[in-house]
Symmetry: C2
Subunit: 218 residues, 2 copies
């Protein structure tokens, strides 16, 4: 019995989280427990438990006896996340030992192929897929340092900001192509073992993303 | 009724966490639910709930139907934490704008007085108090950047590693005095608005801590 309850809660958790990340539940919107319960054909208890879990992780705001909402995107949040990425991602890249191992280069070439395919695709609306690849690429770069605690923190941070990026690429569609070009540039410098230039290109890439985010927010 | 359960759980949570951080429950030891429940004169349910919460935060390991233990301190953990502190704390300090505002200087002078008092105190066994001040000082330095998400991450990371520092200063008692001298040095450079030297002193301080930790681990 307990196991079933746990599974229902996990199902609701994943369902709501995905709706938030891909902005079916847009920032600022109200989440109705009973609607979610109906959509999943389950009772409200596991939905409520899932929401409590999501609140702890910062995905929803709960005001008891009033409403459960998706937090708005604030300029402060965006600036903070960009600053953290600039500190952590760029520093991590600078600390990577060169020459890169062949298996790392192999993985980077795989990413390169993926992103090259996005450069010329327009309005394909592969937003979700692109964002997953985007996230995996950035987490992979951090993971090269071999620090699992730092990698986990970055994965969580990037995962939590996916909904911002989602809004951005829906609003500024050319960002998929631009961003992919920037990724390929970073990869090429890494394949040449030129860490300094790769780090600089990563820094620029993060800053350009920020500017696109700010356009959306206007 | 629900409120009482929540409060009992929170009480158990704080009680166990403190025992772990200050090594009354040493790394590797087994936690007995019923012992904790007896010590607090409460039932086992809130204790179990508190342990589940602590597991999520990495403070305990639970193997269902076997044992709940305090994670051992691994060399990998220590190295990862030191690396993260080096990346984040040092980079944050470098990004602080100078000249420092008068209120920041005032706060730094307060910290200076606190740490000066530890330099000549020997074997006073003020371990807990010292570690709290130590943690607050490092979190304060990060907080000067004004990035609340980064400050929270650092606070959690440092809080989680308090038990390592505790073992260190109990094992290498002179670290309280040494560490305080190093803190004063960092503060003095900051008061002179010499960020570069402060960042270098902070980097050295973190590395010396690491070496002391490794002695303990031998």
């Amino acid at each position: 019995m307990k196991n079933i309850q746990k599974k229902l809660k996990e199902m609701a958790y994943k369902y709501i989280k995905e709706k938030i990340i891909f902005c079916e539940l847009v920032p600022g919107s109200v989440i109705q427990e009973n609607e979610i319960a109906n959509e999943l054909s389950i009772s409200r208890t596991p939905v409520r438990e899932a929401l409590l879990e999501l609140e702890k992780e910062g995905y929803v705001n709960i005001v008891p006896r009033q409403a459960t909402t998706v937090p708005k995107v604030s300029l402060k949040d965006i600036n903070e996340i960009i600053q953290i990425r600039n500190i952590i991602e760029v520093q991590c890249l600078k600390l990577i030992e060169t020459p890169l191992a062949e298996e790392i280069k192999e993985k980077l070439r795989e990413f390169k192929t993926i992103f090259q395919n996005y450069i010329n695709i327009n309005k394909e609306n592969n937003y979700k897929e692109f964002l997953q690849n985007d996230l995996e690429f950035h987490v992979y770069l951090v993971s090269l340092l071999g620090n699992s605690q730092l990698t986990n923190f970055c994965r969580e941070l990037l995962y939590k900001s996916l909904r911002f990026w989602y809004l951005m690429i829906v609003g500024v569609e050319r960002r998929i192509s631009e961003s992919s070009t920037e990724h390929v540039k970073i990869i090429d410098f890494l394949l040449e073992n030129n860490i300094d230039k790769a780090a600089k290109a990563l820094e620029e890439h993060i800053l350009v993303s920020k500017e696109s985010m700010l356009i959306i927010n206007e």
